[in-house]
Amino acid sequence: MGKARRSPLEFALKYGVYTIFVVIVIIFGLSNKNFLSTSNILLLLEQSAPIMIGVIGMTFVMMDGGIDISAGSNMYLSAAVSALLMTRMTADGSLITSAWQYILFMLVSLCVGALIGFFNGLMISRFRIVPFIVTLITTSIARGLGMFFTDMKLIIVNNMGFKFNDKSFLGISLLVYIAVALLILFHCVLRYTTYGCQLKAQGNNHEAAQKLGINITRNTLISYVLCGALCGLAGIMLAGQSGGVPTSLAEGYEFIIIPSAVLGGISLFGGKGSILPGCIIGNLLINTIVNGLTMMSANPYVYTIVRGVIIFIAVMVDSLNYKGEIR
């Protein structure tokens, strides 16, 4: 037998993304001379960083064959709760300056996210409700709660001293360092821990994993908690980046995160892909397109359409490779 033939589509998916990436960079680079400027590239990286952290979380969920549609709302609620705490703590007019305070607020946001993830994971792993229904519902629950807590008001975090735009090292934003550190950390978690290896296995065949004594319920739960926690962290980073928490923070970001993962080679059907380089390439591609369209000053409504088309194509290629049942 030896090596089975890889389908041309699989080949296209594996290297096609890189090709498309290069082609798009060239097109945008030629049509706008600012596109390839250092400042724009750094901006692009900074913009991608929080979302990339979300993609890491989504990778764990998708590795198990699940999906988390609530990613965007999770970011919002986590950031909102953390920002509300900030307003309480700065009520006396003090500013957030110390690193410890930053860490505290990021941890709060992370914990809120983890809690939402725990709820998702519990419903999915214990009560066996299909993931897209559960996370769809938590999407609206989380955003509703966030709007309720904040009274539908925009909370400005910049004025309280919480901002990331002025935090950089060697000219590169702190956010990028955080993202890179997490990428490496979770790449190792997925590849070099028992949890990671068994997650990949169970994503391929749940029944067999169960028979081997792999605790699939626990692994699924951990994946959703991880995804939630990382989204929570990404949420507060987005807030610090954009200066505040509007009710529309991260709205629809799941539609960037999921196709980013799929484009990065992480299959919606579970058990396939890795964090490095998967999480980077897909996300950079999508952000490059959005960034490029902005620079070409396209009609902003077109973004939604473009995103939809990207998801459609990415998933189509993923599905054509999959030989299973249709739903």
């Binding site: 309720f148 539609f255 599905s319 249709i326």
Partner: protein
């Protein structure tokens, strides 16, 4: 001994039937209780105006939920229904108000046809993507949702001055029960017709049996001669068509074309189906259950509104109900299977 066995077997059967009757109609019972309680305790509920309003809120929701029921029975989902509603609203209002046809009967006819046509078009795209390209429905329809809601907003931004376009003729708004106080029953009639049609389709026809079979096991179905792909395709086509019809009804009801009309509706739509007791994993459920779900969820909205609960919490509360219902559906179905196993051993 044998007699004793027989008696206990009969008893087990009776208890299964009773349990099933209860679990099948649980939401209806809860709805009756909620409704009665609202009549007594919620101020402003027991008025002709409010009840009329309640029913006319149920009508278009039932139509779009009917389509989703069919898709859900196959374990699929159609996120794009909301974008169909938005797009239908945007385009039909444009036809009715801004084209050369405006103010003629032709405008209304064309608007109807275009509305249904948009629904059918989105349904065909979804159907082809899912049955032909084997894409999972939850992402395929997410993608089409993004595209078509994007198209709606873009269309509005180019051809409207604002996000909405009012001034629709009464001949059109009748489909949403507006334009004349006597029109209020029209959407109810449409909803009733859709309900009867889909209930009949699912429970009495070959298509219905195919939907359930494919929802449980597509491979067994294929080998038993069921055209699996065609069945799935028609499910999504029907879902799109019904969403198109609902889009016309909602547009009429609002007496305006609104580019984001469907945006916040999805929790209501999927919630109606799931709360009614149709399994999101496919194969189990019915149109009747969706009717209960629509009645209950709309009642919940009405009560929340009358009680002055903050708007932001509506979806939170509804969401909790949906998740509880989804959990209960699984538990009761497992119980039914166990009870049947027990009875089988006795018989």
């Amino acid at each position: 001994m044998a007699l004793n066995n027989k008696a206990s077997y009969e008893k087990a059967l009776r208890s299964i039937r009773l349990k099933r009757l209860l679990s099948d109609n649980a939401i209806l019972v809860i709805w009756v209780v909620f409704f009665a309680a609202s009549l007594l305790f919620v101020e402003g509920f027991a008025s002709a105006y409010n009840i009329k309003n309640y029913l006319s809120n149920c009508a278009p929701l039932l139509v779009v939920a009917a389509g989703l029921t069919i898709v859900t029975l196959n374990g699929g989902i159609d996120f794009s229904t909301t974008s169909v509603i938005s797009l239908v609203s945007t385009i039909t209002a444009y036809i009715l108000v801004k084209t050369a046809l405006a103010d003629t009967i032709w405008a209304i006819i064309v608007a109807f046809l275009v509305g249904l046509g948009i629904g059918a078009l989105v349904g065909v795209i979804n159907g082809l993507a899912i049955s032909g390209l084997k894409m999972p429905s939850f992402v395929a329809t997410l993608a089409t949702k993004l595209v078509f809601s994007g198209v709606a907003v873009w269309f509005g931004s180019v051809f409207y001055e604002k996000v909405s376009l009012p001034g629709l003729p009464a001949g059109f708004t009748a489909i949403g029960g507006k334009g004349n106080p006597n029109y209020w029953f029209i959407p109810l009639l449409i909803a009733l017709f859709v309900f009867v049609l889909i209930e009949w389709l699912l429970s009495k026809t070959v298509f219905g049996r195919r939907v359930y079979a494919v929802g449980v096991n597509p491979r067994t179905s294929q080998i038993s001669g069921i055209p699996v792909r065609r069945t799935i395709f028609f499910e999504f086509l029907l879902c799109g068509l019904l969403a198109g019809l609902a889009g016309l009804m909602y547009t009429g009801k609002n007496r305006a074309g609104i580019t984001t009309l469907g945006d916040d509706m999805f929790v209501n739509i999927v919630g109606s189906v799931v709360i009614g007791g149709t399994s999101p994993a496919g194969g189990f459920g019915s149109m009747r259950k969706t009717l209960y779900g629509v009645l209950f969820l709309t009642l919940l909205s009405t009560i929340l509104n009358l009680l002055g609960i903050p708007y932001t919490l509506y979806d939170v509360i509804k969401g909790v109900f949906v998740l509880i219902a989804a959990g209960l559906e699984l538990v009761t179905r497992r119980m039914n299977i166990r009870a049947a196993a027990k009875a089988a051993k006795m018989g």
